[in-house]
C-alpha cells in the first residue's frame, strides 16, 4: 500500500492518562459516526428511547400496574384511527398504541437489566479466569464451553419452560444464557493484554496485581465487551419476543412479543395493525442495536467473532 495510506488500522485503547484515553474515545466516536448506517442505527435508538421515556406522558398509565395492557373489552379489534386508539386495539381490546409505547419501556427494562447482569457476571468470571489463570481458568473455561455448546434460544427456552413465564423468570433465564460470551471475551482480551510490555513494566514498578488489573488490564479489555453488549441489547429483546411467541410470557403484559403473537391471527383477516406495529418495533429495536454494534465492531476490532 502507498506510504501515505488511509487504510483503517486496528484501534485499541492504549494505556496512559485519561486525557489520552479520552482522545482515543473521541477519535473512535468520529470514526463510528462517519458510517451512515451506524448513524441511522443511533437515530433509531434515540427515537425508541424517547418513546420509552415519554410513554407516561403520551398515554395515561394503567392503574395499578402500568406495564399491564389496559383492556377495553367493549372495543375489540378497533382499526387504527379509532378515537382513543390511534393504532387500533387488539382482539382483547388492548390499546396497540399503549402497548407499543410501554412495550418500548418493557424492552428497555428487560435489555438493560439483563445486559448489566450478564456483563457484570461475565466480566468478573472472565477476569478471574484470565488474570488468575491456572486451575481456576481451566475450570471456568470448561464451564463456559459447556454453556456455549447449547444454542442460546434453546437454552433460554428450556430454562424458562421450567421456571414459568413471569417477567422475572424470563430475565433470569436470559441472564443465565447471555453472560457466557462476556466471560470468554474478557478472558481472551485479558490474556492478550497481559502479554503487552507495559503490564510487565507495571509489575517491575511493583504495583499490586489488583491495581494493575484496574489500571491497565481492565480498561483495555472494555471494547469488545462494549460491542457485544450493544449487539445483545437487540438480541435479548428478540429472544424474549420469541419466547413469548412460543408461549412463555407474563399474561397481559405490555410486551411487543406478546402483542405480535396475539395479533397474528388477525393479520390474515385484515386486522394487520395488532401485530404489525409491535412487530415493526421489535424489528427496529433489534436492527438499530445491531447496526450500531456492527459499526462499533468494525471500528474497534474488525475480526472479533461473538463467541
Amino acid at each position: 500500500m502507498a506510504d501515505i495510506s488511509t487504510a483503517p488500522t486496528r484501534l485499541t485503547l492504549t494505556p496512559g492518562p485519561w486525557a489520552v484515553r479520552a482522545r482515543r474515545f473521541s477519535e473512535i466516536a468520529k470514526k463510528v459516526l462517519s458510517n451512515p448506517t451506524t448513524l441511522i442505527g443511533l437515530i433509531i435508538i434515540v427515537a425508541l428511547l424517547a418513546l420509552a421515556f415519554l410513554a407516561p406522558v403520551l398515554t395515561t398509565p394503567n392503574v395499578p400496574d402500568p406495564y399491564q395492557m389496559p383492556r377495553d373489552w367493549g372495543a375489540r379489534d378497533a382499526p387504527p384511527g379509532t378515537p382513543g386508539h390511534p393504532l387500533g386495539t387488539t382482539s382483547t381490546g388492548g390499546d396497540v398504541f399503549y402497548g407499543v409505547l410501554w412495550g418500548a419501556r418493557t424492552s428497555l427494562q428487560l435489555s438493560v437489566i439483563v445486559v448489566s447482569i450478564t456483563v457484570t457476571v461475565g466480566v468478573i468470571v472472565g477476569s478471574l479466569a484470565g488474570f488468575i489463570g491456572g486451575k481456576v481458568d481451566e475450570i471456568l473455561m470448561r464451564l463456559v464451553d459447556v454453556l456455549l455448546a447449547i444454542p442460546e434460544l434453546i437454552f433460554a427456552l428450556a430454562i424458562a419452560a421450567v421456571l414459568g413465564p413471569s417477567f422475572g423468570n424470563i430475565i433470569f433465564a436470559l441472564s443465565v444464557v447471555f453472560w457466557v460470551k462476556y466471560a470468554r471475551i474478557t478472558r481472551g482480551q485479558i490474556i492478550h493484554v497481559k502479554q503487552n510490555e507495559y503490564v510487565d513494566a507495571a509489575h517491575v514498578t511493583g504495583d499490586s496485581k489488583f491495581r494493575i488489573y484496574l489500571k491497565d488490564v481492565l480498561p483495555n479489555s472494555v471494547t469488545p465487551v462494549m460491542v457485544q453488549a450493544t449487539l445483545d441489547m437487540g438480541g435479548i429483546v428478540l429472544t424474549a419476543a420469541t419466547l413469548s411467541f412460543i408461549g412463555l410470557a407474563q399474561a397481559g403484559l405490555a410486551e411487543w412479543g406478546v402483542l405480535v403473537s396475539d395479533g397474528q391471527a388477525g393479520i390474515s383477516a385484515g386486522k394487520w395493525w395488532a401485530s404489525t406495529f409491535p412487530g415493526m418495533m421489535v424489528f427496529l429495536w433489534a436492527l438499530a442495536f445491531n447496526l450500531v454494534g456492527d459499526g462499533l465492531r468494525d471500528v474497534l476490532d474488525p475480526r472479533t467473532e461473538n463467541r
Binding site: 500500500m1 502507498a2 506510504d3 501515505i4 488511509t6
Partner: protein, 405 residues
C-alpha cells in the same frame, strides 16, 4: 519546463523509455488534500537503471505506482502531469509514446505485467498464499500470451477453450472442460504454460522449478519468493521494470544475491529499471542515475557517481552525512533534525526549508525549480540559482557556506 530540458542536453540522443512530466498525485483525507507527489519530473532512458531515493513517505512509491496506475483511488487522485511511455511492442500502444495516465483502462491492463512490470517490497505479502506458485505465474502468460498459446492448439480451438485461455471461463464452462475433446486441448494448453513457467523460474536460478511450481508461498524462503516475483515480473520481458525496495524485507546476505540477479537479468533482457529505495548504498551499487525525492518532490537528480561525489542539495548532503550502510534499516535519516513537513495543502516554498540550516525567506515563500548545476545534474536549491533571472539580490539567495541557524 521539463526535466529533460534542464538536466540532459548531453545524452539527449539516447532514446527514452519513459518520461515523467510534472506528475502530481494527491490523496483525499479528512484533514484535506495530501500532496503526496507534487510536480515530479524525470526521464528513464533505454536500458538504464534509475534510482529513486528518499525517506519513507516522500512519495517515491506513489510515483512508482503511478506508472501502472496502481494508486488506490479513492483516496488517490491523479492531479496532473503525464507519464510518457515508449513501448517496444507497438501492438498495444501503437507507434510513438502514450500517456500512461490517459490511456483507456484495457490498454493499461495490457501494459501491466507485459510492458511494465513491478516487483514489490515484501515478497512474503506479494504472493497469494492460497494459490500455488505455478498458477500465479501462469496467470501472466494466460493474460498476455493467450494468442500464442492458442495457436499451438491448431487452427481453431473451441470457444470454451479460448475463453479458458483468456481466463474468462464461467462455472459451467469449467465443467465442460473436464470432458473430451476439450479436456485434451486444455491439457495441451496447460502443458505449454507449465513449460513457460518452468523456463521463467529456471531463469531466476531456481533449482528444480517443477517442484517449486506446485508449492505454496508459505513453504518457501523470503529470498526464494523474491526470485519468484522477479521471474513473474520478467516473464513477458517488459520494457520497464519497477522495483519497489525489493530487498528491504530480506536479510543482508540474500539482499546481495537478489541485487546481483536483478542486475544480470536487466542486462540479458535489456530492460530499463526504476529502482525505488531509501538505502543510498544499494542505489550507489546498481543505479546509473539517481533522483533524490523529498516530501513529494525531486530535490536532486543526476548520474550516480556525480551525485555521490558532489551532492549539491542540502538534503542530499544530509543523507550522505548520515552514511547509511546495508545493515541499517529504516529511520536512520533522523540524522537531519526536524521532521518531514505536513503535506496537506502546502504553501509554495522549498519543502526542505523547514529543516534546512541555510534557508532564507525566499526559500520559505517560493518553490525552487530544478536548477542545472552540471551536465545531467540538477538540484532544486536557490543556492545555485541565477539571481538576475529570479530578479533578486544575490544576498537574498541562500549560501551553503553560511548557516542561517
Amino acid at each position: 519546463m521539463t526535466a529533460t530540458a534542464d538536466t540532459a542536453p548531453a545524452q539527449a540522443t539516447i532514446p527514452l523509455v519513459a518520461s515523467v512530466n510534472d506528475l502530481r498525485v494527491h490523496f483525499q483525507s479528512r484533514a484535506g488534500m495530501v500532496h503526496a507527489v507534487d510536480g515530479v519530473s524525470f526521464d528513464i532512458r533505454d536500458g538504464e537503471t534509475l534510482g529513486l531515493v528518499g525517506e519513507t513517505g516522500c512519495g517515491k512509491s506513489v510515483t512508482a505506482r503511478a506508472f501502472i496506475r496502481l494508486v488506490a483511488s479513492p483516496p488517490g487522485v491523479y492531479a496532473g502531469g503525464q507519464i510518457q511511455f515508449w513501448s517496444s511492442e507497438t501492438r498495444i500502444t501503437g507507434a510513438g509514446p502514450v500517456d500512461l495516465l490517459a490511456i483507456p483502462h484495457r490498454d493499461m491492463l495490457d501494459i501491466r505485467g507485459d510492458r511494465i512490470a513491478m516487483i514489490f517490497q515484501d515478497p512474503g505479502k506479494a504472493l497469494n498464499p492460497a494459490l500455488s506458485i505455478g498458477s500465479q505465474i501462469a496467470e501472466v502468460f494466460y493474460q498476455h500470451r493467450s494468442e500464442e498459446l492458442l495457436k499451438a492448439l491448431g487452427p481453431n480451438p473451441s470457444w470454451i477453450v479460448r475463453r479458458a485461455a483468456n481466463q474468462e471461463s464461467m462455472g459451467f464452462e469449467r465443467f465442460f472442460l473436464r470432458f473430451p475433446p476439450l479436456r485434451g486441448q486444455m491439457a495441451k494448453l496447460r502443458q505449454r504454460v507449465d513449460r513457460l513457467v518452468a523456463q521463467a523460474l529456471a531463469e531466476v536460478q531456481i533449482p528444480n522449478p517443477r517442484k517449486i511450481m506446485d508449492s505454496y508461498p508459505h513453504e518457501l524462503s523470503g529470498g526464494m519468493k523474491q526470485r519468484i516475483l522477479i521471474a513473474q515480473a520478467l516473464a513477458c520481458n517488459p520494457d520497464l521494470l519497477i522495483a519497489d525496495e525489493p530487498t528491504t524485507a530480506l536479510d543482508v546476505t540474500i539482499q546481495a544475491r537478489i541485487l546481483q540477479l536483478i542486475a544480470e537479468l536487466k542486462e540479458r533482457h535489456e530492460t530499463s529499471v526504476l529502482y525505488i529505495s531509501h538505502d543510498l548504498s544499494l542505489v550507489r551499487e546498481i543505479c546509473n542515475r539517481v533522483a533524490v525525492m523529498y516530501a513529494g518532490r525531486i530535490v536532486e537528480i543526476g548520474d550516480t557517481d556525480e551525485i555521490f561525489r558532489n551532492p549539491t542539495h542540502p538534503y542530499t548532503q544530509g543523507l550522505m552525512a548520515a552514511v547509511p550502510s546495508a545493515t541499517h534499516k529504516r529511520g536512520q535519516l533522523a540524522a537531519i533534525e526536524g521532521t518531514v513537513p505536513e503535506l496537506v495543502d502546502p504553501a509554495p516554498s522549498c519543502r526542505f526549508s523547514t529543516r534546512c540550516p541555510y534557508a532564507v525567506e525566499l526559500c520559505h515563500s517560493v518553490d525552487p525549480p530544478l536548477i542545472p548545476v552540471a551536465s545531467g545534474h540538477g538540484s532544486a536549491c536557490f543556492a545555485y540559482a541565477d539571481p538576475h533571472s529570479l530578479g533578486v539580490r544575490p544576498d537574498e539567495l541562500p549560501s551553503l557556506d553560511r548557516r542561517t541557524r
